[in-house]
Each structure stands twice: as structure tokens, then as C-alpha cells.
Symmetry: C2
């Protein structure tokens, strides 16, 4: 299937600011019309070698290396270029060819090492077949390079970058390619350090690849994932643009703890080394004066001993003893003070942030929904798409420390409005991937997960099962064929295990659960009339679990105030948010889509680290 | 001008997941066809009161409050509703009206406080005229509410939120409005705490508004800026999508210092309090054992004194003296060790990050271009749009600590390709704003900067003046009418002052300066053949200065290695980046557009903090 977007691309290289033609453009053209109109065209293509083979051409037995006795196999090209043989042997012929600029000319330097024509080991002419990929699509282009055009050993390693010019031709042999490129100019070769290039080996497991995140996108799997990710990203912006939402970039740095959680990254410019030095200075300053006094006390003690021994002068002794006592007192006093100062300085309960960049403690944001709400309460419908951060010390396959989230917030909207919007958004994303990524999805279906296309189609065509939390608890209570790790009782936060069971086993389709107990949702979610539950929901899809979490948020000042009190949150941090209820408050609702989990769902992979360009997780931030 | 996008919206509320109709939809319809087809329609609208007036209806003199002697002015509505007067006075009539559901019925509770009909202070009937805005456009809708529908005092304050239902009618008086809403149901009122609501005052300067970033978008200026920002944001994604770039979300948290700068924010989960406590524990543990030994020494010292005095047992004395000496030695040893431990612990030069979340020191990224380059070297053309961070202690009007950047990187592309792409991108952004934000731009031209539209049109129609750095230096050297703060000599980094002079005074149009001295650009920019300059450029526009900075980046391993050496950078941090040169290296180039500066350019404002939803700058991170 070729989409509208793909048709917009033409073979003209102007589209992408270099002279080369994208392989996607070329190969999709070729597939659409069986390469009609392409054969004979000259093009410039660039990319990285995915696999290669060299087919030797027979040389004259006369100059065969003795070691080279492996003979020709059936696939080898039997053509012998007389010109090449002549060139290699007879200097005059070579010179003539050089002057005439003959097409078969082999550069002089390649032949220079042959001191004596009859004894020399002449490189055997060959043809190199390269499968080239440029990241624009799954397919690769076969590029044929004669050894007279470029040194085969430089081209063959996997990962070599080449920029070549040549003519599009019908493939010499029947195969899966409908077109190939006969290269006659190699404009660039980026060689490979074979011994150290991790991608030289075939089929490296994804978890090993994670340590080489800078090379990962050169694998077909990761490149495919990133192309799908890109389509989902643009679809996100398109959906909200089509529905008149305004894109509001909420801040990554915040002094507000949106969820009341503790797994926060701190942002600071304070220098830990400088802080330590400050403590050390305190210690040294106090320490020095104490030592002086102690030395004095020791001297005075000796003086007293001497006076005692001499028994000469009782008055002098009494004065010296008095002096010693005073000095000792001072020493004790100083010692105590030193101890106190250091201890105070070490123990100080309040960490001083006044000297920090923002003059206050700041964090990386966990959620942008509070900030977004303030813009919704002025602009109506708003959304944000950016990184959010959680310092969970976990190696869960569904969690990374930095994840991109799509957050939407709508004024004058209630729980059901948010649910409708979340559903439409999810359907839209799946539809766009189905329409725009057919080649990538086929690759995934073949190599990773053959159910991936069906899953996307189900989202588009089927509505989620709607269950209140109470109903979900009832359903789970009746489950007999499975023992859950967390017992089912009213009030628990449903775990991944429960949710997956509902979506994967019970309903075998997306499930939407709403009206959660207030204890398991953040303070800002709207309290329902029952006083026990809040207007929150989760949209759970098969395979990955919760993909969207939404809620109607509390617009009533008195109720949100008492929720903050109940939870013991630092009210002063939320004054700005409460202000929105004091002045022109409005019902509003919204949701968060975990974008990386959406990519995981679409691609059928199992670890979120494999769908994030540079994943950050506990103990890992490679670059 | 009405754009395609605006036409897509219909009066159906389905588009935006609530029953209300966006004012943009309604008012643009009204302007397009002179309100034909709208008059008589029932709609639900919601928004915030921008301004209001109450027009009293005359009451019977009989019940006038004595204080109410200000008389009627000419603008007041002279209609007297007999029904209301009768209702207010005669209980029976009221009851009859209630039963019949008469349209003029005034709810009972409003009248209940009038104990005696003749003495009561009856609220004087009135009509409230509200200018309502919902953030979807500059224009507001006039909403007319009779005091019988809602208590006027609740509706009148600026900032009050209302959701009202009613009928669209031709305005009662000729004016700028082509349609107004006669409300007959008020479904929601979000009142205002007049004394504390900062936006109650009119025309608050933008710099004062910054302290109330959560309310700012309710002002017409900031709402307009945010709508334009939104159009620029979607245009960014559209441009790159149209040109087959892949969106790669580069990480905010990084262990690589992309620019080799020092103004970095650190990211940590280490607890400063806990660190201090650790030091304090060392101190205490050591301190305590030392004290025990000291106490023992003192006791032994007394023992020795006693033995000396009694002179009874020389052997016992010798043993006691030996014991005392050992104890004293131990005390000295412990004292020395304690001092050493604390000092070491305080002074430790290497700040230990092994216990930090990522087991290494991490920062907030200054630039995503290195990370992006690694994806370009696999996928071809890539871009990223996200927050970047610099901890400059400055209050410059062009700088914030967190700014959004658009970064693009293209493999197989050289300096000129990057320049062409940057130019096209800038033109595209300006074109999209001109097409999609006509009403917003008119508001800006009227209120902020009347040259804003001309400036955008110039970018679309005129190509930038191209100058090498050498040529720019020559031009600036010849300037006689202006003395620059930094003297013009080869090798300086051109300052804002120089660049603005070129764009605003000399050429009066965008200027592109390229081939900067290598010393003033980052290590990764490609060295030119002259060995002195690098393939970097800036695109400078009138009014705001540099808006795009681009470069071709160094693909040659040996040269980039020696640049890293020259600059004394920590090579081990860049090994992953150098890997890209070791394996399949390719010419690549790209650029960075400062998105917030682009919004500043478009809106004609002068401080970047006014175009960022929640600005963060030195000493300021409000929420």
C-alpha cells in the first residue's frame, strides 16, 4: 500500500536538502509500477551497507597467487575484462587508457605494488553486491560496484557508509528486487572498524543493543520502531490540531510536586564539592583556635608541675594553677563549641536552597497536568507533549526514568468528555499507523509479533468495555482460574496483573475502568457524590495494559482544600493551583497518554527501553 | 481572512468534547456571512468575563431605598416589567406566576428577605452585558443576561467564569458586534475573589504579570501569543513531516556536555540532608570512641597519681604508667584518625556519584544535536523539538533557563544544504502564521508592534544577505556612525550588538553569516580547509537577532579528536560520539532554531519570558 504522503515525494532530491534520492522514494516507485520509468535514470543514493557479497571474476592463470587455489564457484561471474588484464600487465597500455580516460581504467596506485608483472599478486577483479539501507524504509537497494570503481575491501563490511552515483537497471538475476543500481562513481566511503563495530555481528539481542543506543537505529528493527514512533508523534499533533486544541509547552523544571510522590529528580546548580569545602572550613577554623588554646594549657600545666616541684613560691603556684584552670575551661568551652558548630553544620535539618539557581528546591516534572489546567482555564482546550520524569529504582519493562507523555486538558468538560476524547485519540493514532506504516507493520508482523496489525485494527473498530471500579472488583472476585498476587478487595489499586487479566483474558479487547477509590488517585481528581470514589479512569489495552489515564479534576475550592489537608501535602506549594478555583473556576477534565507505551503497543516489543531513542533508567544514562 | 482550518470547524460542538460552541467558530461564522443563519439558533457558550456593565431597569419610587438617590442616567433601560413589580409586592401574584411557570418569574429566594413589602429593599431589576472570551480567538461575544436569570453581582467581576445557554440574536444596538447571545439559562458561575484577583485591574504590565503565570493566558495579549505559538509549533512538525524528516525525541537527561559549557543544571536523587548526616555519623562514631579512650586515660592518670602518692608498690606504679602511656598513645592515634577521617570526608575532591540514580553525574541537556547526529547517521534526516537548559545567571530578555529548541540533522548534507533547509523552514513558519493567525496578528499590530506583519512578509519574500564572517568583519570595521562595545577584530565572536546592526541598520533584512573562527564555535563543527574557520552559520533577523544557528559537523575522526584535545574536553564523555566517525562516518549538517525567540520575533514582544507558558529564569521558578 502506498500512502498519500509517499506519493508526494518525487524522485527529485530537492525535498530533503541533499542531492541523494531517498530509498523509500525510489523503491516505492519501483514497487508501484514495476520500475517502469526508473530504468535508465541516473541517481545518487547514500546509506549504510546492510549485507554484502563479493563475486570474483576469473583472472588469467598466469598471475594467480599460489594460495588462491579455491577455484571459481558457480555463482562467480565468468566475464573477463581484457582491458583490466592488459592494464595490469603492460604499463604502456595503462598509460594510454589513463590519457584516453577509458571506462575500464583501474587507478594506478592499486597496481603500483606489482614490481614484476609476472610475479606480482594482482588483486583479482570482482563485482561487489551491496544491500544498502538509508533508514527511510525497511527495504534496501541492491547496489552493484565493480572493483574497478572502488576497492572491494572498503565497501564490504556491514555498516560502511557510501554515497554512490550510477544508473538504475533491471536486476541481472530474478529475485525480490525490482530495480538495482549499477554504481559508476563512489563519492564517499565511511569505513568500519570491523573488530570493534558491535553491529558487525548479525542478530544482536535488543537488550544488548541498548548499550549502543547511538548505533541501534542502524538495525532494521530499531529503525522500523523509530519510523512508527515518528508517525505516532505527528499523528498526535495532527489530532489535537484538528480538534482546535492549543499546544502548551509545560515546563520540565518545576517547584510543584504534581502527584505528591517522592520519586523526584532534583535540579540544582549547587556544587556538592563546594558544599563539602564549606563544612571543612568550619571544621578547620574552629579546630585551629582550639589547638592553640590546648597547646597553651599544656604549657601552663608544665609550668604548674615545675612550680610544684620547686616548691619555691606558693603565690606564684596559686596564680599558675588559677591560670591553668582558666585555660582549661576555655579549652573545654572551645571544644564544646567546635563540636556544636560542626554538628550543627552537618545536621542542619533544613537544606538551604537559597543559594541555588532558582532560590528554591526544584524538580523535574512528573506530570504537566496541573500546569496545563491553568492554561485550560483560560484557553479552553489545551495539550502538551513532552518528557516527564520519575526516579523509580526499578527495571520494569514498562518504565523508564524519562518518558514522553501526551497530556490534554479541557475546560467545560466532564468525565465522559475526557473519556470520549481519549478513545477518539487512541483510535486516531492506530488508524494513522495502519495507513502510513504498512511496510513497517509488515516487517513487525513477520519478525516480532504477528498479531500487531490485528491489535491495531481492533482498537479502530471496537469500543472499549466500560466498567466502574466496583464492577471490575466484582468481576475479578469471581475469577477462579487465576490467583492474583494482590488480593481482590474494595479499595486496592488495581495492579498490572488485574488489568491485563481483564483486557487479555476476560474481555479480549480494550477496557475502560472508572470511578476509582479516592485513596489511589491524586488529590486533584474530582470527588464523586458518594464521597468514596473519584472521577478517574484508565484505558487498558491488551498486551501492554494501561495506556491512558484520565480524570475530571476538582473545581470546588473547599473540597480540593480538604483533600490536600487529608493527604498532608504542603499546601503552600499548591496555592497557585488553588487560585484557579478562587477565581473563575470551571469544570475541567483531561488525560495522559503514555506515548512510549503507545509505541510499545504498536510495535509489539516487550521492553519500553527499545522504543525510546536514548532510554534512561536506574543506573543507566549512557550518553 | 478565514483559513481552511477555521472552516473545518462547524457549529457542532462535537469537535471539542463538550456541549459548548467555541467562540471562534461562532464569531468567525458571524463575520463571514453577517450572522445569516446564526440568528435564532440556540447555543451553549462558556468563557470568562472580560468586561461587563449592568444597566438598571427603573423600579417604582414606592420601594426605592433611601440611599438609592443617584437617579437614572440616560443609558439605563426605561422598560418596566409590570410582572416583576407585581411579583415583588403581592405574594398571590407570585404564586400564580410560579404555578404557571411564567417567563417573568423571579425565583422566590431572591425575594424572601423582604419581610414587609413596603419597607423591603428589593434588588432593582437590571440587565447585565458581559463581554465573554473563551481563549479561542481575540474577539469576544456579548452575552446579555437579565437579572431574573442570575444574580448580577456574581456575573459582573472580570474573570468570572460562566457557562450559559441562550439564543443568538441581532445586537440590540448597532456596534462592532454582528451577533450577541441572549442568555436564558446560566449553568455554571465560577465567581471571583475581587480583592485578590490580580487581573481585576486593567492593563497590568507584562513584567508584573510574569509573577502570575497561571493567570496570564486570560489576558488578550498572552492568549494571542499562545495561539500564535501553537500555530508555530504545529507548523514546525508539518514542515519536517512534509520533508520526510523523522522526529527523534532526544533525552533531557544526559551525561554528555554537548557544548563543553559550564552552565549546566545537575540532575540528582541524592539527598543533601542525607549526605550531611553521613558526614555527621562519621564524626560521631569516631568522636565517641575517642571520648571513651580519653575518659579511660583520665582514670588511669588518676590511678597513677594515687599510686605515686601512696608510694606503696613500684611494680604496680610502673605497670600503671605503662598502661597510661599506651592509653594515651591510643587516644592520640584515635584523635589523629578522627581528624583525618572527617577531613577526608569533607574535602574529598572527587564528588562520589556512584550512589546517584544513574551511577554517574548527569545534567539537563544544553543541545540535542550530538544525540540527533547519531540518529541522522542511521535514518538520514531527523529532527527534534523539545526543552533545552542553560543555567545562565542572567536576566537577559532573550534568555530563559528552559527554552524549546527545534533541532534538525541531515546525513549526506553539507553546509549549503543546511542553510537552504534553515531558510525554507523560517519562510514556512512565517507563511503559516500569516495564513492562520490573521486575527491575532491584527491585534498585535494594533496593540504591540505595528510592523509585525511586514516583518513576517519580508521573511517570506526576501532572501537573506549572505556574508562570510570575514566579510561581516570588513563591513563592521567600516561602520563610522556607531561605536560597538566589543571592538571589531578578526577572531571575536560577533555579539548581539554587531548582528543587530547588520540586520536592522545595514541590510534591513535577514542576514546569514557563515564560516566563523573555530575558537568561537563548538568542537563538533567541521573545520574548513583554511584551518582557521569552521562551517558554522547564523541566521540573523531584524528585531530579535540570531534565530537559527547551523553547521556542517566534523565527520573526520582525526580532526574531531584533535579539536577535543585542543579544547581540553573530557574525551571519555565523547567516545560514543566518536564511534560514529569510526564506523560508517558521513558528512552531515544541521541547525537549531530557538523556538521561543521565533515566537518573540512573530509577536513583536521584547522579553522571551512573555512568550513562554511558564518561564524559568535565574531566581524564578514560581510553580
Amino acid at each position: 500500500m502506498s500512502t498519500q504522503q509517499e506519493h508526494q515525494l518525487s524522485l527529485s532530491p530537492f525535498n530533503h536538502y541533499s542531492n541523494r534520492v531517498l530509498l523509500k522514494t525510489l523503491l516505492h516507485h519501483a514497487n508501484d509500477d514495476g520500475a517502469v520509468g526508473l530504468v535508465g535514470q541516473r541517481v545518487l543514493v547514500g546509506g549504510w551497507v546492510k549485507s554484502s557479497k563479493e563475486v570474483k571474476k576469473p583472472s588469467l592463470p598466469l598471475i594467480m597467487d599460489n594460495n588462491n587455489n579455491d577455484g571459481f564457484d558457480e555463482t562467480r561471474n565468468k566475464d573477463v575484462s581484457c582491458v583490466e588484464i592488459l592494464q595490469s600487465r603492460i604499463p604502456l597500455v595503462r598509460s594510454i587508457f589513463h590519457v584516453l580516460g577509458g571506462k575500464g581504467y583501474v587507478p594506478r596506485k592499486k597496481l603500483e605494488h606489482s614490481q614484476h608483472p609476472l610475479k606480482a599478486i594482482i588483486p583479482q577483479p570482482s563485482t561487489v553486491y551491496l544491500l544498502l539501507t538509508d533508514g527511510s524504509c525497511v527495504s534496501s537497494l541492491q547496489v552493484v560496484v565493480d572493483s574497478s570503481v572502488a576497492q572491494p575491501s572498503n565497501l564490504l563490511p556491514t555498516g560502511t557508509c557510501i554515497l554512490v552515483e550510477g544508473q538504475l537497471v533491471k536486476p541481472s538475476s530474478e529475485g525480490k528486487h525490482s530495480i538495482e543500481l549499477k554504481a559508476d562513481k563512489v563519492l564517499h566511503i565511511g569505513t568500519v572498524d570491523i573488530d570493534n563495530y558491535r553491529l558487525s555481528r548479525k542478530r544482536i539481542p535488543l537488550d544488548m543493543l541498548r548499550d549502543y543506543s547511538h548505533f541501534r537505529p542502524r538495525t532494521t528493527t530499531v529503525a522500523t520502531v523509530m519510523r512508527i514512533r515518528n508517525v505516532l508523534s505527528f499523528a498526535t499533533h495532527s489530532f489535537f490540531n484538528d480538534h482546535a486544541f492549543i499546544d502548551v509547552q509545560v515546563p520540565a523544571i518545576t517547584s510543584t510536586d504534581s502527584e505528591g510522590f517522592s520519586n523526584l529528580f532534583k535540579v540544582t546548580t549547587l556544587d556538592r564539592k563546594a558544599e563539602k569545602e564549606k563544612l571543612s572550613t568550619v571544621y578547620e577554623t574552629e579546630g585551629v583556635s582550639l589547638e592553640v588554646v590546648k597547646a597553651a594549657a599544656k604549657e601552663k600545666s608544665n609550668q604548674v608541675e615545675n612550680l610544684k616541684r620547686s616548691e619555691s613560691n606558693r603565690e606564684a603556684l596559686a596564680a599558675a594553677i588559677h591560670d591553668l584552670r582558666k585555660t582549661n575551661e576555655l579549652a573545654s568551652h572551645l571544644e564544646a563549641r567546635e563540636k556544636k558548630t560542626i554538628e550543627a553544620s552537618l545536621k542542619d535539618d533544613k537544606v538551604d536552597s537559597s543559594e541555588d539557581f532558582f532560590s528554591c528546591q526544584t524538580y523535574l516534572t512528573v506530570s504537566g497536568r496541573l500546569h496545563l489546567a491553568s492554561y485550560a482555564c483560560a484557553l479552553g482546550n489545551v495539550y502538551s507533549f513532552g518528557p516527564r520524569f520519575q526516579a523509580h529504582k526499578t527495571d520494569s519493562a514498562k518504565h523508564a526514568a524519562e518518558m514522553w507523555m501526551v497530556e490534554a486538558e479541557m475546560a467545560f468538560a466532564q468525565l465522559k468528555d475526557s473519556m470520549n476524547c481519549a478513545n477518539d485519540f487512541l483510535k486516531y493514532l492506530c488508524k494513522r499507523v495502519l495507513e502510513n506504516c504498512s511496510e513497517d507493520l509488515k516487517f513487525i508482523a513477520k519478525r516480532i509479533d504477528n498479531a500487531c496489525i490485528d491489535r491495531l485494527q481492533q482498537i479502530v473498530s471496537v469500543s472499549p468495555e466500560m466498567l466502574s471500579y466496583n464492577e471490575a472488583i466484582d468481576v475479578l472476585r469471581k475469577v477462579e482460574d487465576k490467583k492474583f498476587e494482590t488480593n481482590i478487595e474494595w479499595g486496592i489499586d488495581l495492579t498490572t496483573e488485574h488489568l491485563s487479566y481483564l483486557a487479555d483474558v476476560v474481555y479480549k479487547k480494550p477496557v475502560m475502568i472508572y470511578n476509582y477509590p479516592k485513596e489511589v488517585r491524586p488529590f486533584y481528581v474530582r470527588l464523586n457524590d458518594d464521597g468514596r470514589t473519584v472521577a478517574a479512569y484508565d484505558l487498558i489495552v491488551p498486551k501492554v495494559g494501561t495506556i491512558i489515564s484520565g480524570s475530571q479534576n476538582e473545581e470546588r475550592l473547599n473540597i480540593i482544600s480538604s483533600r490536600i489537608r487529608e493527604l498532608g501535602l504542603a499546601r503552600e506549594k499548591y496555592e497557585w493551583y488553588l487560585d484557579l478555583r478562587r477565581n473563575g473556576t470551571v469544570k475541567h477534565s483531561g488525560f495522559t497518554l503514555k506515548f512510549d507505551i503507545m509505541v510499545l503497543f504498536t510495535t509489539g516489543l516487550s521492553n519500553v527501553r527499545d522504543v525510546i531513542p536514548f532510554p534512561r533508567s536506574y543506573g543507566k544514562a549512557n550518553n
